[in-house]
Amino acid sequence: NAGVTQTPKFRILKIGQSMTLQCAQDMNHNYMYWYRQDPGMGLKLIYYSVGAGITDKGEVPNGYNVSRSTTEDFPLRLELAAPSQTSVYFCASSYSGQRQPQHFGDGTRLSIL
């Protein structure tokens, strides 16, 4: 089992560029999440999805968009990259939401210059 797979692992963007961070899971999990992790800070939730076709905002959604067309995939879109979006991004999944641990990918390290 691959678990949660994130691509790319590293990326450098220029201010104003756009990109999509990919996330795929092969565990048939209903719930998927996107977090960002800044140095010395806890994980902050950007967006989450409880199933295909359903997404909702987390704590820090501004500047990001998501879609969930299939159970397996949950891409995160940055439309106009800003330096404040320099961070490590983690995707996670769980079978259900409230009382089950999440399985994380190994992250995408994104720098905006």
């Binding site: 806890g42 994980l43 989450y48 409230q98 009382r99 994380f104 992250g107």
Partner: protein, 111 residues
């Protein structure tokens, strides 16, 4: 909003000793708690969880204690090994679809 904090940002222990990592949470309605381990360059990895109807839960070399009166959570690692060196996060949930994570404690095991 939610807040989950850790008492110590760093912890160093001798190999073979026991480690204790603490976590405070603020939402008394939270009823599910998780400990994660994060190694350098990797995503968080699930260690152990506990529901609020329990005070203690044990896994392999790890024990989680929950004190709901003071909203405190701890992770005990027995006979700490070099491979235990990592950042440890607690997370609280159960009141919605979101979890709230602490900032993490960096554990260093001295051989």
């Amino acid at each position: 909003g939610e807040s989950v904090g850790l008492h110590l940002p760093t912890l160093s222990v001798q190999e073979g000793d026991n480690s204790i990592i603490n976590c405070a949470y603020s939402n008394s309605a939270s009823d599910y708690f998780i400990w994660y381990k994060q190694e350098s360059g990797k995503g968080p990895q699930f260690i152990i969880d506990i529901r609020s109807n329990m005070d203690k839960r044990q896994g392999q070399r790890v024990t989680v204690l929950l004190n709901k009166t003071v909203k405190h959570l701890s992770l005990q690692i027995a006979a700490t090994q070099p491979g235990d060196s990592a950042v440890y996060f607690c997370a609280e949930g159960g009141t919605g679809n979101q979890f709230y994570f602490g900032t993490g404690t960096s554990l260093t095991v001295i051989p």
